[in-house]
Symmetry: C2
């Protein structure tokens, strides 16, 4: 097995072969029927599930993430591949539209979506499966019909290499063209791939600084390509006085559990909790943090970066350390900071930055005007959370929350009520994205079925003879696709006057 | 009337007021129901139609475009506003998706699209209506719920100013917030608007050089925004030997009519015609070009730029002047150049550039291998056209055309069969776009209903109390929208277990 040793950085000849193979695979992969590509995705999902044991052990050895979490992540990834397979089987994602010729001379026009071509996926550190080699970006790009070159995250290179072998093997065995999926290693290989003319789109999940560097590289191309970067998020949580009165202990416990989950290494970690000043839950929060178990971070580099960032945050004016957990071995304890809205706003540049790890800030507010002012200080975020009492029209927060919600929905991709932002369900209604700096492409999502759309572009066929039309657009609708025909949604053949 | 004199360049205080008003308008405009925004668009369309006479006269005085063409363009623009109004009334463009909570703990998730915020539209020179102040970009952005600031093209500033007054007045009178539409003048104002943090997206139709300058400005922002630029296209036409045998004279006449239409000032002008070498139509083409009427170009600046570009093209090695029309006054004659595929390929960098005006190139090929090689030399284009005989499976071109089509559909946004690329129908199935350098955002279209999508981003509401949900996502579906509810398309209320 080639995974016994850490794979070397991909050298130039190897990268050239990889990109050449991806380019060669683009045509054949695009030419497969959606239902045929669905089989490829299902084969990849099965291969992933069958190797769970081996892959989880490998991931454990590289990432320090606990076994149950890793096992769950494999299931999430294979489930995601199957979700896209189902979208392909439905076929509606192709958005086929047919406008037949009119008597006043408008020609027959037929439009569908086609794949962009090879995609480079930059794997994430914190999800070695679900946002890495077998993750949502890979699954959606392959589903769209685009060959994928994954740039492995250096935090789990052997796992990435092994999954690459497994998936490439499964894809090949079920009829995918050679070159449909490959894994490369090393920053240089990633940057070169990103600026290679054969590459037509790229995705990234990671830090704001890393994303900015890649975006600059994309912008240096003579031909701009879509770059879908997810760069970071603070995920503020706002608690109304009424919610705190009704559910104070539950909210406090939920908060500490959410910001310490996975050692705080989630892009949706709640980074700030806004509580009314003089709230009575101070001791309960301190106890919960002090009781929280120290947790191993993904790797040493990330632990060091976290320690530095945590240290920096504690020196922001007005920031006080409210509680810390007990340290143990190499594991890091949770840290809870405290400040007030005026102090936060006076230092927003230094205080409102992501801290990747189990640190969060309790911010106390005096009144609702302060709460709203604080909400307005945020730029783009993946999520915002509101704890309030507004189930019924008569509930106290039904006057209070709407103006706050108006501020927040302009700034975030997902608004969570009376829950926690960690945990991103893979479903059609999910949106994982948000205005910059949460992402570089706020009109798109990286989770859910419409993630496919990032890798597709429309093509219109005008007055095209039936034998030359893609079968998706042919009169007799051989694939039984849901199509918009002369304004009506239909799976029937097109009936045209002779 | 303020339009008697040419409007001055927008100064800084005026620009500041304009952008401030656009920012202020964003919330109220987004808060209108889709059907209410539809009324605004219809009012704008009516105002445009009612002023046709006045506006066409103004346009005539500034652009040298003929009256019938201008009159048609007003109708095209008002028709486009009404098409988007109809899309709003349908409401499906919001893509509402509801996944209700599951027994295994997945929360209730509801997703819809919301407007991005203020959009800057850079008006085009060649369509003073349909791609300028009242054009498709403005119509689709307003429809999406985004305030629009149009940077007027300097080729028709008085017309732009006047239409801005008219539309802003019509919008205001029908309930739009102040600041929903404004027009600014001058390159400096345009660039400042493009980099202003209040602006959330921008569109442009014009030259590759102009688009690149704006894209660089966008990329200099700390927060990247979507920039939808349409930069230029060569629109090659390929004629098979069988098609030429069957319809030679018709093809030749259609070609000359298409490349001289509107003095060749269309982004879809056929820039090259590929004919089999030794074809018998040489004299007919020469005659058609020599007979073609000289045409006035939009303005002096464009005429001078065209003369220089035409001159440059004639000096490309291997390029011969095949025919020219007779010059007359300030009007320009058509120019037809001729070369061969090997000569073209040997000089592709200098030969394959857009010439904005009534010049085109006949390229002769020896065999189908040459034709395919020529097709592969093209980068992104708005259109490619094929003249072939392939209506029936037994037709001669049914073996010849598919490989050529495969090359072309990878490179263009629209493939036209046995017709001409000029003339872009405004319909759901149209795609006006294409890979770079045709556009900077190939996953989107600038014509047709889905042009809306450029200005919308998803927001997901998790576990949101009914009183706080946007009505588009409320259980009882008060707007009667087509929604995807737990995987089923439905306009019914959501039924949930108590």
């Amino acid at each position: 097995m080639t995974t016994a040793t850490t794979p070397e950085e991909t050298d130039l000849p190897e990268l050239e072969r990889t990109l050449g193979a991806a380019r060669e695979a683009a045509g054949p992969l695009a030419a497969l029927r959606p239902s045929e590509r669905a089989l490829l995705l299902r084969a990849a999902a099965d291969a992933l599930d069958a190797a769970t044991e081996e892959l989880v052990s490998l991931a454990e050895s590289e990432t320090a993430l606990p076994r149950p979490r890793l096992t769950g992540e494999v299931g999430r990834s294979s489930g995601q591949l199957r979700m896209f397979a189902a979208a392909l089987e439905d076929g509606g994602y192709l958005e086929p539209v047919i406008d037949t010729a009119t008597e006043n001379g408008r020609p027959d026009l037929r439009r569908m979506l086609v794949p962009l071509g090879p995609v480079v996926v930059f794997g994430a550190s914190n999800f070695p499966f679900a946002f890495s080699v077998p993750g949502g970006d890979t699954a959606s790009a392959l589903a769209a019909g685009c060959p994928v070159v994954v740039k492995a995250h250096p935090g789990h290179p052997r796992l990435s290499e092994r999954i690459g072998e497994l998936l490439a093997g499964a894809l090949r065995a079920s009829g995918a063209p050679e070159g449909a999926l490959a894994v490369v290693h090393g920053q240089d290989a990633g940057l070169r791939a990103l600026t290679d003319p054969r590459v037509k789109a790229a995705t990234f999940t990671g830090s704001a600084a890393g994303g900015k560097a890649l975006l600059d590289a994309v912008n240096s191309r003579p031909d701009p390509i879509p770059f879908y970067g997810e760069l970071g998020s603070l995920n503020p949580v706002f608690v109304t006085p009424a919610a705190l009165r009704a559910r104070g202990p539950e909210i406090v416990d939920g908060y500490v559990a959410s910001f310490t989950l996975g050692a705080g290494q989630f892009c949706t970690k709640p980074g700030l909790l806004f509580l009314p000043s003089g709230h009575g839950e101070r001791q309960r929060i301190v106890d919960a943090v002090e009781r929280s178990a120290p947790a191993a971070m993904l790797n040493e580099r990330i632990r060091d970066a976290y320690a530095a960032e945590r240290e920096r945050l504690t020196t922001v004016p007005g920031m006080r350390v409210l509680a810390t957990g007990a340290p143990a071995d190499e594991r890091v304890p949770a840290t809870l900071l405290e400040t007030t809205v005026p102090e936060l706003l006076a230092n927003s540049d230094s205080a409102l930055t992501e801290c990747f790890g189990p640190t969060s800030i309790v911010v106390t507010y005096e009144n609702l005007a302060e709460l709203r002012e604080a909400a307005e200080a945020f730029t783009g975020n993946l999520t915002a959370t509101l704890h309030c009492e507004a189930e019924q029209l008569s509930d106290p927060d039904n006057e209070v929350v709407p103006p706050l919600l108006e501020v927040l929905r302009e700034r975030v991709g997902r608004v969570v009520f009376n829950g926690w932002p960690t945990g991103v369900a893979v479903t059609a209604a999910m949106h994982h994205g948000g205005p910059h700096p949460a992402t570089t492409g706020s009109v798109h999502t990286s989770v859910g079925t419409t993630a496919l759309r990032r890798f597709l572009r429309p093509v219109c066929f005008q007055s095209t003879p039936q034998p030359l039309l893609p079968e998706e657009l042919a009169d007799h609708n051989p694939l039984g696709l849901p199509r918009l025909v002369d304004g009506e949604r239909s799976t029937s053949p097109v009936r045209r006057p002779l």
